[in-house]
Amino acid sequence: MEQALFRGRRDRKLADGIAVRLEGIAKRFGDTLAVAGVDLDIRNGEFFSLLGPSGCGKTTLLRMIAGFDEPDEGRILIAGQDMRGVPPYRRPVNTVFQNYALFPHLTVEQNIAFGLRMKRMPKGQISKRVGWALELVNMQGLETRRPHQLSGGQKQRVALARALVNEPEVLLLDEPLSALDLKLRQELRVELMNLQEQLGITFIFVTHDQEEALVMSDRIAVMNRGKVEQVGPAEDVYELPKTPFVAKFLGDSNLIPATALEPRRVRTPLGEFVLDEEDALTPGQEVLLSIRPEKIRLFRDRPSLPNVFQARVDDIIYTGSENQYLLKAGGMTLVTDTLNQDILEPGHDEFTYDETVWVAMTPEKLVVVGEAR
């Protein structure tokens, strides 16, 4: 996981005020509870991501903000206004759809002008605004093309321009990059981030791609089964997962069952560990610990560090820039990523299959993610 990238957004100054407030939102489709009680505050000018696997309710939530679906319970406030009963065409939000939903019978220019035309803006003004929007997304010269003559990336830009030209309070993006290939996706990420910073519009970004969310967002809400599992800045969500789901969904994670012996001391199948938890545990409490693969350190000789134990190298997976070791210890399999260790421990890559190694788990990287079930 490229941590450097998402650190860059940590200290962005945001304006005060709430752009979108969700209060106790619930939505049911037939027998399934798509959204099961969500409370969220999304700040003005924030790049906010709804992250989760498919079917977690993130798109439903977005559709309710857009007005395509009405919540069964709860309230949606946009810029302080209750949106109950307000149709999509009267809401101060615009959407970038997953497959762009560009009008195939209209040109690029006509697509972008659509929203302004609906507002009955004078013709001269419309063409000025459309020109501005085309420039914003670098699509000058393609005004008269039709959607089927555009590449995926170009469609994406038109979809963005079509939404942004209306100057919405909030821009809703429903997996806008998922249909593009990797390289284009990475380019457009940067463009989207720059655009958002430049315009200062609140973005609500739905994605199932954790890397995308981590790289781009000011804050992330991780959703699972219609509920928000954790909300916070990208780094917090990644480094300090609060639930096993978050730990597993955002990158790889090793989950270790543990029983508290003392407020900061636990027994695990791998041995007794000390923790750096702020919330002390009650002795006897059964919990789950999480540690990221790249936070596990390996040594040939016993290091003088806390939380060390021995393990056997069960498998080695080469993934280009990284080596993954699968370790067996205490009846468990642990995954490690050796990217960071390259720098710290030269010569570690000599570990071979079936070798016995020393493993160290730094207390501050060992996070309690929930009660063991």
Partner: protein
């Protein structure tokens, strides 16, 4: 094997066209009786156009086709939209009802409408069998076809397009006018063309729902076949086949232009 298939298939296509071709050729044949070629003539066409009754029947046929197509296209398109866009009670029932005119033999369709018109007339003294009843009857089966054709097109339509329009500030009505209708127009046009040719083609339902003074061309041809064919019927048939091909090509052109799919 491939060759055999080709020969077989072209033979079948020849079988499909042979009878029509014979009629076309005979319409230009001088001979009044029999099928031997005695020279080229346009007499039969001239005679056809001089026949005021035929012109009246042609007018009847066209009035029925145009009016019934117009009404059924509007009703059918709206119904298709309703069926695809909204859930409601009785929807399933309505969908089954839609298939009835498609699958019921046209004799049954004809006599059922005859019964309806007869029952209503017995009760309120109106309507007598006329062009009006033929139009009502034609609409009844046309609606089903138009709805099914337009519905097929609508189901290809990404619902996100309509949502996008609403998201961009279009009211329901403007969404329909600016997005839905242009995008389903190939379906609407081909539905209309289908309805039009079904109306032109129909003999059986018309047979049961027409009255005196409401003879259409198919009824006229039927009567002539029963009493004795004359070459001017060949000429009439040739013209009708020509018109059919023209309508079809027009429809094809529009479909190509309107839809890329």
């Amino acid at each position: 094997m491939k060759r055999l298939l080709a020969v077989y298939s072209w033979a079948i296509l020849a079988f499909l066209y042979l009878p029509i071709l014979v009629i076309v050729v005979l319409s230009f044949n001088k001979s009044r009786f029999g099928v031997s070629w005695t020279g080229f003539t346009l007499d039969w066409y001239a005679r056809l156009f001089a026949n005021e009754r035929v012109l009246e029947y042609l007018a009847n046929t066209l009035i029925v086709a145009v009016v019934s197509t117009a009404v059924s296209t509007v009703i059918g398109t709206l119904l298709a939209i309703g069926l695809v866009r909204y859930g409601f009670r009785l929807k399933r029932f309505l969908r089954y009802l839609l298939y009835v005119p498609v699958v019921v033999p046209d004799v049954v369709m004809g006599i059922s409408l005859l019964l309806l018109f007869d029952t209503v007339r017995d009760t309120i003294g109106w309507p007598r069998l006329s062009l009006f009843t033929i139009i009502l009857a034609h609409i009844s089966f046309q609606v089903a076809y138009v709805t099914l054709v337009v519905r097929a097109r609508l189901m290809l339509l990404d619902p996100a397009l309509e949502e996008a329009a609403r998201d961009l500030g279009a009211t329901d009505w403007r969404t329909f006018l600016e997005v839905t209708l242009p995008l389903i127009s190939p379906g609407v046009v081909s539905g209309a063309l289908l309805a039009f040719s079904l109306s032109l083609d129909d003999f059986v339902v018309t047979f049961f729902t027409s009255g005196s003074g409401s003879t259409t061309l198919p009824l006229y041809i039927y009567g002539k076949v029963k009493t004795g064919i004359t070459p001017d019927i060949h000429a009439l048939s040739t013209l009708m086949v020509g018109a059919t091909i023209l309508i079809l090509l027009l429809g094809l052109l529009f479909w190509r232009k309107g839809g890329t799919k």
